[in-house]
């Protein structure tokens, strides 16, 4: 019954930084809001855009604070940050326990284990953004296959030289194209594996 496009989980923190939040969405939104404030304050005080490492460290410290006090519960989300600053593109994961690491490929949420295994097989250094789009779709679709046949939506956003180093949502047509391609490849693989079994 939900309109497509509601239940967004990917947010823009600053022009050059975007964030995806798994788990409890309200907690995730809290983290995004904090990140947006940190980025804005940093720009105001230091005159430059916030470096990704600084942003994720600050966010991780913020999450950690919730684990120090008896009257607070830890945030039920994490912040998967993608950015492009003057040191290049970065992916950081700031977890609710207070750690923050940089990754070349990472998954977080219910189906993360399977996707992490898939990502480890890839030669991440040689992928273009377009190829990565399809791979991301594939991973997400595959991981949902085993559960119920509920309809689901894939939300995609990216940042690269092509997007002028700005974090933007993937254009609708391109997103649909990647999704369809991914579905086709999955069907192909299923057929191949069926052939092999018989």
């Amino acid at each position: 019954m939900m309109l497509p496009g509601s239940n967004r989980r990917i947010f823009t923190v600053a022009k050059h930084v975007g964030m995806a939040v798994p788990g409890k969405l309200p907690d995730g939104r809290q983290m995004v809001s904090r990140a947006q404030q940190e980025a804005e304050n940093y720009k105001r005080f230091y005159g430059t855009t916030i470096p990704t490492k600084v942003l994720s460290d600050r966010l991780a410290n913020y999450c950690h604070a919730f684990s120090l006090y008896w009257h607070l519960r830890p945030l039920g989300s994490a912040a998967l940050t993608a950015s492009y600053d003057d040191q290049g593109p970065h992916i950081y994961l700031s977890e609710t326990n207070g750690v923050s690491y940089r990754y070349y490929g990472i998954a977080v949420g219910k189906g993360r284990q399977g996707i992490k295994t898939e990502l480890e097989r890839l030669k991440l250094g040689n992928l273009s953004c377009r190829e990565a789009l399809k791979i991301v779709c594939k991973c997400l679709i595959k991981q949902r296959d085993d559960t119920s046949n509920k309809k689901f939506e894939i939300e995609l956003a990216w940042i690269s030289d092509e997007t002028n180093k700005q974090f933007v949502r993937v254009p609708k047509e391109l997103a649909k194209e990647s999704e369809d391609e991914a579905k086709k490849e999955i069907e192909q693989e299923d057929e191949d594996s069926d052939d092999m079994e018989s």
Binding site: R44, F45, Y46, G47, T48, K53, V54, D57, Q87
Partner: protein, 234 residues
């Protein structure tokens, strides 16, 4: 009776760095220059003052106006930039951030402040940069800047003679010449000419002693020192 610090009115004047300060970019870095006179009315409180202060690695601040105000600003800037450097880690502080902090302090406290400053330095991403924060708290990035009471006498000279992509020694000589011209006309500027050169490899603090500062026209020549210049070619 206390001493010779009283002016004609009998009241003590605030210590000012009525000054000549400047900074300019060259191919690969910046050169900052300043005179060394701190005056309190007609009394020269310090004739060898150092008006170029380090605020963080590879970034320096030229101070003019109230000595107390600018020293306080430099102190705060140093504090915030040290904390900032710890948070940044390997990536060093950029000159723009240093200038922005100086500007925030100057602008937020503009009612009480009497401080005109120039922030200049070198960082890995953008190379040599000069930012000027005049009284009131504006922030502008410029290829070269002059400040202080003596700057008015050399605005045209500097505008005409600064060239982009100078060499390090050309730039140093240019800065020394400009400051010496200002000293020759401005009563609140004098003493030695201090310069700081910042580029990728080094940060060098130098000074030109008083008797080696260029003199012009009517000034009395030191017995041993720079040759008197009778005509300054434009």
């Amino acid at each position: 009776e206390k001493g010779a610090m009283a002016t004609g009115s009998g009241k003590m004047k605030e210590v000012l760095t009525g000054t000549t300060i400047m900074a300019c970019t060259y191919d690969g870095g910046v050169v900052l220059g300043a005179d060394s006179r701190t005056s309190s009315g007609n009394y020269v409180a310090n004739k060898v003052a150092d008006k170029i202060t380090k605020v963080c690695d590879k970034v320096y601040l030229c101070r003019s106006g109230s000595a107390a105000h600018t020293q306080a600003v430099a102190g705060y800037a140093n504090l915030y930039l040290n904390q900032h450097a710890i948070e940044l880690g390997e990536k060093g502080v950029c000159v723009r951030s240093a200038a922005n902090i100086v500007k925030e302090i100057a602008y937020t406290n503009k009612q009480w402040m009497n401080a005109g400053m120039i922030v200049a330095g070198w960082d890995k991403n953008e190379g040599g940069q000069v930012f000027v924060v005049p009284m009131g708290g504006t922030l502008m990035e410029v290829p070269f800047a002059v400040g202080g009471s003596g700057s008015i006498y050399i605005n045209a000279f500097v505008d005409k003679n600064w060239k982009p992509k100078m060499t390090k020694s050309e730039c140093k000589a240019f800065v020394r010449k400009a400051v010496s011209l200002a000293i020759s006309r401005d009563g609140s500027s004098g003493g030695v000419i201090r310069t700081v050169t910042v580029d990728k490899d080094e940060q060098v603090k130098e000074f030109l002693p008083g008797n080696e500062v260029q003199v012009y026209h009517d000034e009395i020549q030191f017995s041993q020192g720079a040759q008197k210049v009778e005509f300054v070619k434009a």
